[in-house]
Point group: D2
Chain length 365, copies 4
C-alpha cells in the first residue's frame, strides 16, 4: 500500500536504488506449475538494458537476473518469486554537487520535500533503472498469458522528438536500437547524433499493444482495465500522457464514427483500443504514451540550490538523451502485468460465467 507494490493478485513488490547493491522484485500470486527459469526472463531484460547502442546511456549493466525463491525443480510453486539483479557499474563519482542543487524537471526537489533526504547517486529510487525489475516480472506474466490465452505483447516507437515514425511492420522492431517499426532508421540515428552533440534531450511517443486478450477483463467502475493501464503507464518514469485506442483524437470524433461496430465478421474498427466500459472486448489492447525529454542534460540551466540561491545546473554523467528509446519493453511489461492481474481477478469472481451470446469473431475468451 505504500507505493512499491503493483497489482492486486499478481502483486509485484519492487525494491532498490540506481546505485545501491541490488535492485529486484518479489512476485506474489503467480499460479503454480509453470516452467520458469532465468532464461525466460533474461531476453526481455536484455532488450531494456543500458549500454547496447551509442544512443542510450553508456552505463554497463549485465542486468543478470537471479531467481531466489518460488521455483522448485524448474516450476513455479505458487509462493513468492524473488528476482534479484545486482548493480555492477556504479561509478564512485562525487555526488556532493548534485546533492546541493535541483535539476529542472527532475525529482530532486520533490523527494527532498517528501522525505527530507534522498539518495542522489544516479537518481536513487527515482532512476528509470527501477523499471528493470518490472520488465523481469512482466516476462513472467507474459509467459503465463501466452500459455493460457495465446496473448502476445508488443511495443514500438511511434515518434522520436519531431520525427513521426510510420508503422511498417513489427518485424523491424528488434532490428534497430529504437524499437522503430521501420526498415530504415538512418534518419533517427542522425537525429540522435545531433541531439547528443547539442547536449540536449528529447521526448518520444511509444505504442504498446496486446493481441489475444480475453474479453471480460477489468472492473466496471474503478480498477477498470483502461484505468489500470493508465495508472501503469503513467507510473513509468517520464511519462506525461496516456491514450487508449483513439485517445485524444476521440475529442473531435462523432459517435457514428467512434463506435466500433460489431459484425458477424468481427469489429469494423478499434477506436476503443480493446476496452469498453472498463472491460476488455477481446479486441487488441492499444495504448500510446508520451515520454518527456530527459531532465539530466549537460546543457546549462537556471535553477536554485538548497539554500534557495540561484545557480546554473549542468548535469554530467551517463544519461539517456531520450529515455523513450528503451521504453518499449517497459511499456509492454507494464501492460502484461495489468492484464495478468485482471486475468486472475476475472476468474476469481466470474470463474463460472458462461456468456449467453455468440462471441464477436476475432476475439477470445
Amino acid at each position: 500500500m505504500s507505493g512499491s507494490t503493483f497489482g492486486k493478485l499478481f502483486a509485484v513488490t519492487n525494491f532498490g536504488e540506481s546505485h545501491g547493491p541490488a535492485i529486484g522484485c518479489v512476485i506474489d500470486g503467480c499460479p503454480p506449475g509453470m516452467e520458469l527459469s532465468e532464461s525466460d526472463i533474461q531476453p526481455d531484460l536484455d532488450r531494456r538494458r543500458p549500454g547496447t547502442s551509442r544512443h542510450v546511456t553508456q552505463r554497463q549493466e549485465a542486468d543478470r537476473v537471479e531467481i531466489l525463491s518460488g521455483v522448485y525443480e524448474g516450476r513455479t510453486t505458487g509462493t513468492p518469486i524473488c528476482l534479484l539483479i545486482r548493480n555492477t557499474d556504479q561509478r564512485s563519482k562525487d555526488y556532493s554537487e548534485i546533492a546541493q542543487t535541483f535539476r529542472p524537471g527532475h525529482a530532486d526537489y520533490t523527494y527532498l520535500q517528501k522525505y527530507g533526504l534522498r539518495d542522489p547517486r544516479g537518481g536513487g529510487r527515482a532512476s528509470a533503472r527501477l523499471t528493470a525489475p518490472m520488465v523481469a516480472a512482466g516476462a513472467v506474466a507474459k509467459k503465463w498469458l501466452a500459455q493460457k490465452y495465446g496473448t502476445v505483447f508488443r511495443g514500438c516507437m511511434q515518434q522520436l522528438g519531431d520525427i513521426a515514425i510510420p508503422f511498417e511492420s513489427w518485424d523491424h522492431v528488434p532490428n534497430n536500437p529504437f524499437f522503430a517499426p521501420v526498415a530504415d532508421v538512418s534518419h533517427l540515428e542522425a537525429y540522435m547524433d545531433g541531439l547528443r552533440k547539442s547536449g540536449d534531450s528529447v521526448g518520444a511517443r511509444i505504442r504498446a499493444m496486446a493481441t489475444n486478450v480475453p474479453a471480460g477483463l477489468g472492473e466496471p467502475l474503478f480498477d477498470r482495465l483502461d484505468a489500470d493501464i493508465a495508472y501503469a503507464m503513467m507510473g513509468i518514469n517520464a511519462v506525461k500522457g496516456v491514450e487508449i485506442g483513439a485517445g485524444f483524437a476521440s475529442v473531435t470524433q462523432r459517435g457514428t464514427t467512434h463506435g466500433d461496430s460489431p459484425t458477424p465478421e468481427g469489429f469494423r474498427t478499434n477506436n476503443a483500443g480493446g476496452v469498453l466500459g472498463g472491460i476488455s472486448s477481446g479486441q487488441d489492447l492499444e495504448v500510446s504514451i508520451a515520454i518527456k525529454p530527459t531532465s539530466s542534460i549537460i546543457s546549462p540551466r537556471e535553477s536554485v540550490d538548497i539554500q534557495g540561491n540561484p545557480v546554473e545546473v549542468v548535469t554530467k554523467g551517463r544519461h539517456d538523451p531520450c529515455v523513450g528509446i528503451r521504453a518499449a519493453p517497459i511499456a509492454e511489461a507494464m501492460l502484461a502485468l495489468v492484464v495478468m492481474d485482471h486475468a486472475l481477478r476475472q476468474r476469481a469472481q466470474n470463474g463460472d460465467v458462461v456468456p449467453p451470446m455468440k462471441a464477436i469473431p476475432g476475439s477470445i475468451r
Copy 2:
C-alpha cells in the same frame, strides 16, 4: 479490491445502478471533527446533475444527498460516511430490445462477456450516473483540503468536438452550461443544437486543476500522484486519454525547454503539471482529459444481436449528446479524491519530516 472502492486511506466505496432504487457511496477514513452537512455536498451535485439545460440529458433527478452515518452533531466522527442518493426518474420503458443488441462503443457487450448477465436499464452500472456519488465524496475531500491547505479545485471545458475553447477566465465557468471559461458561448450552443438535430454525439476535452497542493504528495514508483490521477481520470466514463502538464506536447519538447526552472521567485513554467518523479512539487496540478462521443445515439448503426446476427441499432431514450459537458465537476472531484488520499498517506509515513531546503516560492507544504 473488487473494483468499487477508490482510494487507500480516504476510501470511497461506490454502489448502485442507473435505474435501481438508489446510488451512493461510503467514505471510510475521513478525518474526524470536520463540520459536515448535506449543504456542503449538494452544490457540487447540482453542478453535475442532469436536466439543467437543453444540451444535456433531460432525465430529471434532484440528486438529493442524504448523510446516513459518520456525522454526529454536525461533525465527522472519523467513522464511515454513507451518502445516499435516491433515483427518482427511472422511466418504466421497455428495455427488452436494448437487452438483445449491442450498441457500438458501449459496454453492453463487455458486461455480458464478463458477468453473463447485465442490468440494461439506463446502462445499469455502466451509466455515468455513478459519477454522482464520486462528486459527493469529492466535495467532502475538497472541504477538508481547503481547510487544511487552502487547496482549490477547478475544472473547465477546453474543447467541444471541433471547437477549441480558449481560456479567458475561471469566472465564466459557472455562468454557462458548458463549464466553458469564456464569456460568449453562443457558438457552442449553436454547435450543440445542430448536433442534437443530426442525431449524433461528439467528444470533448476537459481540464482539471488544483492550486495550493502541498509538495511531497505521491509515491516514487507506483501510486505516484500522476499515476493515481491517470487512474482516476481514465476511470471516468468515456475518457480515452489523460495528460499531466505538457502531456503529449512533451514528445517534441527538448529537455532545455521542458524542465521547469526553479528560481528564487518561483518556477518559471509548469510543463510538469505539478508532479515530478510522481511527487507533487507544490505547483498547480494540471490535468487534461479526452472524452469520447456518447455511444447511445439515435443515428442508426451497424451491429449484431445476441445470436450474432447483423442488426441496425438505434438508441432512443434520454442521453447526453456530449457527456463531456457535465464532466468538469466530475474531473475536479476525482482529482480531489486523489489529492486527499495522498495527503493522508503523506502524513502517515512522513509526518515528522522537516525538509532541509528553502521552499520554492509559490508552493506550499
Copy 3:
C-alpha cells in the same frame, strides 16, 4: 483500508452507528447470476436481532433488510450489493451523562483518544449492532458456498459464564434463546434471570464450525485461513480469545497425539480444526471464541470523568447482560465471509490446479 472493509475479493464495507438513521453494508465482488432476494438474508438477521427473549436487550428492531443495488431480476449482477437496515427504535434519551464519563471496559475512552469526539448514543459505532450488516453479508456468502460446495455453517454456545454446556445435538440450537445445543435450557434461564437481577453481566464461549469446506483455501504465510479467521473473530465485539481446533489444549499435547492421522477412511481426529499450514484440509473448520461480559451494566463502578475526577458510573438503558447469547449467528457469518473470500482467492491463483494425490475421504475440493 481504513478499517471498515472486510475481505479482499468478497469485500464487505460496513457503515452506520447504533442510533443513526441506518446501518448497512456494501458487498463488492459477489459472483454474478446467483438468485438473491431479501428473503435469503432476513432469516439470519432474525436469529441475531434484539428483543426476542427476556435474556437479551429489549430494544425492538425489526432489522428489515433492503437490497439497494447489485441485483437485477432476482439475480446478482456481479456489481456491488448495498444492503440497508433502517434503525427504528432509537430512544431519545439523554446521553449527556454517558458522554462525560467512561464506562470501565468500554470503548468510550479509546474512541475519544483516537478521534477527539464520539457518538455516545447507544455506543455509536462501537455498538454490537454493527454486526447486523455482517450477518446480512454472511447470508449472501453462505448461499453461494452452499450452492457451490455444499458448505454449511453452524454456531452454538459452549459455555455461559460458569456453566459449561455439553454438546448434545445441533438440532436443539434453534429451539432455545441461547443457541445451546442441549434439549433442556432451564438452568441457563435461571442463571440469566439471577444475573439480570444482580445487575451484573457475564461472558460466554461460542463455537462456530463449517462442514464441506474445500481443501486448499488459505495462504501459506499471512492471510492464512486460520489467521483470517482469528482476525474475523477477534473483530466481533467483546471477543477476547480465539481457538482453532484443539486451541490452547494443544499446549500440553504431544506431537504423537496432536497430529491428525490421515487414513484411507479419513482423518482419525481433528485437532487441527480443519487448517494445516494456514490452508484448509477439507476437514471441518472448528473455531471457539471467548466473549467478555458486557461493560454496560447497572451495577455501580469506579471510574473517572472527562476532567479526570473520580466518579461512580451506573449504566442504565437497554443492554444485553450477556452479549454472547446472540453471538452464534455472528460468528457463523464472519466464518462464512472468510471462507467465501478465500474460495474466490483460491480459484484466482489456482484455478487450473489438479492435485496429484487421492483426496482423504470425507474432504471435498
Copy 4:
C-alpha cells in the same frame, strides 16, 4: 494481497523457502531519516536463530542479514528496505520419501491440494524459518517505535508442555534457552531432554507484551488492533490459539470484575490487555498464544501416501522438539509490526486530533 505481504502502511513482503538460496523481506513505508544498519537487526535474529542450544534444531544458520536497499549513508530513505538472509546449511539429503507421504499435522497435504506441487525440502515455504525475515522487519519497527514513543516489546514462555512457568522477572528471559522468566530452568532442561529421547514433541504457551503503546491505535470495526494482533499471531507457524488480556478467562468473569476501572491514579487492572473497542487504551498490550507440538517427529505415526495407501511415517532430520522455544522473539516482532502499522495509520487519519480529556495516568499518547 496474495498472502505474502503483512501490514497496510508499514508493509512487509516476505519471500523464500527453507532450503532455497535465500529468504528475506521488503519493508515498504518505513519513515525516512531513521539511523539503520544491520547491527540494529542482527540481535533479534540471533535470539531466534537455530542451533543455539541442544533443545532446538541443530541446523546451523548464521542468519546474517544484508540490507540491499532503502538506506543511504546510514539512514532510511523512505523507500523499500530489502533485507536478505542467505541460507547456508541446507543438507543435500534425499527428500523423495518425504515427498511421497503426508506427515500428520503438517502442511504437506494442504500445500499439494492448493498448488498441485510443493517444495518438500525442509518444509519449503511452510517452514518456521520464514519467521526470520519477520523478526528482522520487526526489529526495524521496534527501533522506530522506541524512538518515537518509547515503546518496548517483550516476550517470554508461560508454559512448556505440562509445565506452567510462573513469572518471576523479565531479567531472566535472556539468560536461558527457553525465554523463561525464571531463574532456575533445570526442570525445563530435564523435561526437554526426556522429550527428545522419547522421539516426541510438545506444545507451549508464549506471552508477548508491549509497554508505552500510544492510546488511539486501531480501527473500530475491522482492522481492530486486537483483531490485527490475532491475525498476526495466528499467522505464526503452529499457533492454534490467541488471547488478549484476560482471554478465555473472561468467559467466567462478571462485568463488575472484568471492566478495568480508570482512576486518577491509573487503571486498576488490565483485563482488556490494552485494547478497548479495538483501539489501544495506553495500557500494556498483553497477548498470549498457544503453540502446538511439532509435527515433524521421529516417532512412527499412521498416515497415507500420495496414492492413498496406508503408511507409517517417521520424520528424520533436524527439527525443533518444541517450536515454542524460539517463538518469543517471533511473537514480539509480529506484535511490533502490528503496532507500527497502526501508529502510521493513526496519524494518517487523526494527525490533528486533540483529545478533549485528561489522559489516564500511566498511558501515553
